[in-house]
Symmetry: C2
Subunit: 198 residues, 2 copies
């Protein structure tokens, strides 16, 4: 804290006198896509790169949020929508206070994604993490597709629940056709075009 | 955003090259107390003062959080605890990203307040907004005490549900004995002692 207090923005007067330094702009990187499309992998790579640049970063992972904010919600459309609405609420709070929020959640329904986009406004950046269902299913990192096919999980996105692809995402990453580095570079390029020092 | 990009922290190199500027320290001002004790009034005054100093501020009001994050939760001990836990989760995210979070919630149970304190750590500042029950009841801003006394509301804190006062709050404001300015000054004094430019 000492550094921050003594190092004035103009290099002359202490911040103590000047109040808080100007808030850097925040952003909400919203990663949507099927289970297994590569959201978590891309989210982690983005987090690492942004942290390396000194950015305040938070990853809001769908699964973790379900433990902390939306315990008790299921996977009906209404519950999925409420889950996404709450993630959006927290993402908005963080982004408008200068943080870079990376949301990693299937978020299968277009309408609720667009509702969150409308609330958050310009800082909202939709990133479609896109791999064909067959690719995601063959990866089956968590073994969930197998369970869904066996009928052990009901309402699984892509199997017996719809995924509504974004119509105009700011970035689309075809994780079956490009490397992680290439996907990462796509997102960073978009951030650079908006003035972020990444 | 242009200002932020061009104005380097050291006054020489653009932040674009240097990455993000250092993150100012955050804080969580946790206002606890009976309904009618003056939490909202103090929270608003604090918010205004901090905003005037350029701080990134968020007020997490118990009632508003119940609409956005904890819809469906009631007022049993378990539900109250889950409500507080979620507020604490969001407050932690904000505080560790440099925001000053003002929580305004009855938060009647000591154990869950201490759990949140342990999670948030040093940035957690407990402010006991203290007025005797009789004073709060005579104010009865929202008409809730009357309803509780009439049995129309069950489990109302202070009437038929306990309020466990903080044992070692960082600040105590006796709102029945001091002016709003005096209460405000107490909190600002604590913040100043921690190096915040208020």
């Amino acid at each position: 804290m000492a550094d921050w207090i003594t190092a004035g923005a103009a290099g002359t007067e202490p911040i103590w006198e000047a109040g808080w330094p100007p808030l850097p702009p925040g952003a909400c990187l919203w990663l949507t896509g099927l289970s297994g499309a590569g959201k978590t992998t891309l989210a982690q790579a983005l987090m690492q790169r942004l942290r390396d640049r000194g950015a305040p970063v938070e990853v809001l992972d769908g699964d973790i949020i379900r433990q902390n904010l939306t315990k008790g919600l299921g996977f009906s459309k209404a519950d999925r929508d409420e889950n996404i609405r709450r993630i959006g609420f927290v993402a908005q709070l963080l982004a408008r206070n200068g943080a870079i929020v990376i949301v990693s959640a299937i978020s299968p329904y277009r309408e609720i994604r667009d509702e969150v986009r409308a609330k958050i406004g310009d800082p909202f950046i939709e990133i479609y993490v896109n791999a064909p269902l067959a690719t995601c299913e063959s990866r089956d990192v968590k073994g969930l597709y197998q369970k869904a096919r066996a009928g052990e999980i009901r309402g699984f996105t892509g199997i017996d629940d719809p995924y509504e692809a974004p119509l105009n995402p700011e970035v689309e990453c075809r994780t079956d056709q490009e490397t992680l580095e290439e996907s990462l570079e796509r997102v960073l390029g978009l951030l650079r075009s908006r003035g972020f020092p990444v």
